[in-house]
Every structure is written in C-alpha cells, then in structure tokens.
Amino acid sequence: MSAAAENSAMIRLHFETIEHMNSSTITAIIQIVQEARARGITLEIVFDATKNWQKLSFEALAVFVKDDGLLRLVGERVS
C-alpha cells in the first residue's frame, strides 16, 4: 500500500480463481478499500462474475464506489 502511494500506482486484487471466501475475508477487503481510499490509491477488485457467489459478494461492494473513481469492481469471465 505504501509503495503504491509513493509511486502513484494502482492496486489490483484478483479473486477470480478463489473457490471459497468467508465473511472475515470480506471484512478484510473492506478495510483495504478504506485504507486505499484514505491514501488516494486506486483499487481495482477483479472477480469472476460467472461464479454466483463471487458476483453476489463483490457486486455488493459497490456501496463503496464513489465518484472519485478510486474503487473499481471488475467482473470478468474466467474460463
């Protein structure tokens, strides 16, 4: 996170290949979203939208999307 802030880089988190995730993971992701926004870092979360559980989990994070463009939710199809 610090390196991204210093280099004006974005962070991309990939979850497409994950088969399971518990609610504590979601809580941790929220903390990352909060910290990235506080530091002005663009965060991109990539998930597999063809997996229903991923779609439901990650699309709900849209509650944190703002006009600042610092959070992007990207649902990709993984074959």
Binding site: E19, H20, N22, S23, S24, I26, T27, I30, V33, Q34, K51, N52, W53, L56, S57, A60, L61, V63, F64
Partner: protein, 161 residues
C-alpha cells in the same frame, strides 16, 4: 433415477477447532457435488455451512468439558437445511436474535448485507461485524431460525437451491 428421488443427510459431531471448518466445508461441497452435479448449489450449501460453523466456534461457550458442536446438513436437490448446534449462553442468543431482527428491518437480505458492509466500514469494533449470518441470509437465500434450549443454541438455515 433422477436427482429428485434422492435425499441426503450428514450429521456429525465436530471438535471446535478452526481447521475443522475448512475440512467440513470441502466435505459438504464434495458430497453435494457428487449427488447433484450442482456447482452453484454446492457452493451455496458449503458457504452456509462454513459461516454457521465459524459462528458456533467464535460465539459458543467453550468452558465446559464438551468441546464439540454438531453439524447437520440435510435436504434434497431443491432445498437444504444446515443446522449447527453449540453450547451458548443467554447473552449470545440475545445477540444473535438482535442481528436477525436487525435483518428483518430491511427490505430484503441484500439490503441488509449492503447495510452491514457500510456499518463495518464505519467502525473498528470487530463485534459490530456479524456479517456471516447476514451473508447466509443474502448469498444463501436462506431463512434462518434460532432455537435455544439451555445450554444448546441451534441455528438452522433453510436454503433454496
């Protein structure tokens, strides 16, 4: 013979160790996959199983000699019931019921889930979370019931597949 003619039931005592959650989640998912070839359904039942087991370990009262909880997963191809029993006290039960009532105050489970995400973002208090049970209702499309016959709390999620 079609899937609809099959029922299934898993009923096991489980030691209250965190590593058992992953073992059972995988077991339930594999069992469900083998019976119905329903990947989405198996993931849903596995997720519900995992969240209820984690809650039982996290919020159960484990000061007695018995360090086991009970997992029961049963149903058919279109509906599953996931039940977890663990020792609990009135305070833990009241806490769970407050969360269930809080969910009922929302338009639907999705609205409750999103509200919970926002609440988590606004506090550093880990006890505010209770996201697991809300996730069961939302992603599991589950109706959740809690019964308490002291000292056992039984939580059942009725999951539409």
């Amino acid at each position: 013979m079609s899937d609809r003619e099959f029922g299934f039931e898993i009923d096991v005592p489980v030691r209250n160790e965190w590593e058992n959650v992953a073992l059972l989640v995988t077991s339930v998912q594999n069992c469900f996959n083998a019976m119905f070839s329903d990947v989405e359904g198996s993931q849903t039942v596995a997720m519900v199983t995992g969240e209820l087991l984690e809650n039982a370990i996290k919020y159960g009262i484990w000061t007695g000699t018995d360090q086991h909880l009970r997992l029961r997963v049963r149903g058919r191809s279109k509906k599953a019931f996931v039940t977890v029993e663990n020792p609990a006290g009135p305070a833990e039960v009241a806490d769970l019921r407050r969360t269930l009532q809080w969910m009922d105050g929302h338009e639907n489970a999705e609205a409750a889930f999103r509200a919970r995400l926002l609440a988590i973002a606004q506090t550093a208090d880990p006890d505010v979370s209770k996201l697991g049970i809300v996730r069961v209702a939302y992603q599991g499309r589950a109706v959740i019931k809690a019964e308490f016959v002291e000292p056992v709390l039984r939580v059942t999620a009725e999951v539409e597949l």
